[in-house]
Amino acid sequence: MTLAFVVFAAAAVWTGYRVFRTDSMVRASFLLLASFLNVGAILVLMLAEYLGTALLFMMTVEMVVMALFMVMFMMNPAGLNPMEMVHQPRFAAAAGIGSAAALAAVALFGRFPANPVDPNAATIRALGSELLGGSMLVFESAGVTLLATMVCAVVLSSHRGRFGDGDEGSVAPPLEPGGDHRPEDDLVDDADGGHHMHHGGH
């Protein structure tokens, strides 16, 4: 049992690290999926059976959508081009290690009540009745929020906005970061205000 936990934990952390180290975007999204699968497995080990499998199920579809999004914006088949797009690496690493250390400290020195769940309790039945019983409001509001999210996502990404096209008056980014836009940067400024300057990868 603990061996399984160690294997899943190590795999989750390793694939999580690899997500930001790999070149191909699609590989990154599936490495993230692998990390989630391992976390789901740990949840099942901790007798949260429904949570684990539901996490598996939900994250798989989410990562497939993310992969679809990747290929849509970046159709090169296997990510052959080097993708070194990192900024402020040292600061990020310091922040990452700092937050991990802080949380680890809480884990190590915090005193938590020891009240483990007993293995043969019908946790799923309890969850079911809880979802539709005590925290019905939480469950329904989560559902409605998801509906609102769907509508908002479509509105945000559609070409035609309420006040005209989404890309009206959109200007090309200045060549050097931070500088303001210089009109002469635009190679071709045709009617619809868009421009056709080839810019760097994604």
């Binding site: 590989r27 429904y50 499998t53 199920f57 497939v64 679809l68 088949p77 296997a78």
Partner: protein, 312 residues
């Protein structure tokens, strides 16, 4: 719940492995027979049975050719993952009265997770060879698969309502009096659509399609091609067994022993799905997506409503 003898792990692996192997071979033989029947060739069981064996003999000796810069890990992982998911999906399905490899209380959610991961495996199989046509196949499959994958969850949950449990064994138990195919008429057809989709057979074969030169499998040769075809047949067996268990009463049947009933029903589902392959033309992907969202999904909601009303 009758006393469920949960098989020991090694025995379970043997049972699942054996069922999938025999089932996959049977799927290919049935496919050859249906092909010969529709093509008007003389029907001979001997010829249909010998065909896969001869084919495997030729494929095993063929040189596995790879493209220049493939994603080799994913290319090898995809068929293995797809076959593994077929085994996972079959492991939660009871093969006989009280005989189930993994008696999991959340059988349906495990089956749904296996199905969702199968979509990832198929996309990766198209993505890995780093060649345009397989990538297009994987890419358009994901667009279509996301639209009909919801159907299977609604339909399975509808079947779980009368059983008041997520475990497929309990669902089979709940069909003692009345099979789900009668109680929830919309359930089986929608599930067959999902079965044809995830195993890309029949009208929903947009992955290894003929119009893009074999699609996802265009760059496979030798053992890679054999592994992919075997995994695909195994997934069809797993889904057929699940359809038989959830909708056709699983091992419930008057005279014959339970496992025999299960085998007959799975065979019936496999024949219907494969017949669809030779009698229905391949769908247009973009039109099927519209059909799935605007027609099939409301039907799934209706099926859930019927099930809800039924088990009030």
């Amino acid at each position: 719940m009758s006393d469920v003898v949960s098989l020991s792990p090694m025995l379970g692996v043997a049972v699942i492995g054996g069922t999938l192997a025999i089932g996959a071979y049977g799927v290919v033989v049935i496919d050859r027979l249906l092909y010969a029947a529709v093509a008007g060739w003389p029907l001979s069981l001997a010829w249909a049975a010998a065909q896969p064996a001869r084919e495997v003999a030729t494929v095993i000796r063929r040189q596995p050719v790879t493209t220049e810069a493939p994603d080799m890990i994913l290319w090898v992982l995809a068929p293995a993952a797809y076959a593994g998911l077929a085994a996972t999906a079959l492991s939660v399905v009871p093969l006989g009265p009280g005989v189930v490899v993994a008696d999991v209380r959340t059988g349906i959610v495990v089956f749904g997770a296996a199905e969702a991961l199968a979509i990832v495996a198929i996309f990766l199989h198209g993505w890995a060879p780093n060649s345009p046509l397989p990538m297009i196949a994987g890419y358009r499959f994901v667009g279509v698969a996301l639209s009909y994958e919801l159907l299977s969850m609604f339909v399975l949950i509808a079947a779980a309502l009368p059983a008041e449990s997520l475990s497929i064994g309990a669902i089979v138990e709940s069909q003692q009096g009345l099979w789900n195919v009668v109680r929830q008429p919309l359930g089986l057809p929608l599930f067959l659509v999902v079965t044809a989709g995830v195993t890309f057979t029949g009208p929903l074969d947009i992955v290894d399609a003929n119009d893009i030169a074999g699609g996802g499998a265009a760059e496979d040769s030798g053992m890679a091609h054999l592994a992919w075809a075997a995994a695909r047949a195994a997934m069809l067996v797993a889904f057929a067994a699940a359809a038989a268990a959830v909708f056709l009463g699983g091992w419930i049947g008057p005279v014959l022993p339970g496992a025999m009933w299960m085998a007959l029903k799975t065979l019936a589902v496999v024949v219907t799905v494969l017949a669809g392959r030779h009698l229905l033309a391949r769908v247009r992907p973009e039109r099927f997506v519209r059909l799935a969202w605007t027609v099939l999904l409301p039907l799934a909601f209706l099926d859930l409503a019927i099930a809800g009303a039924g088990s009030l």
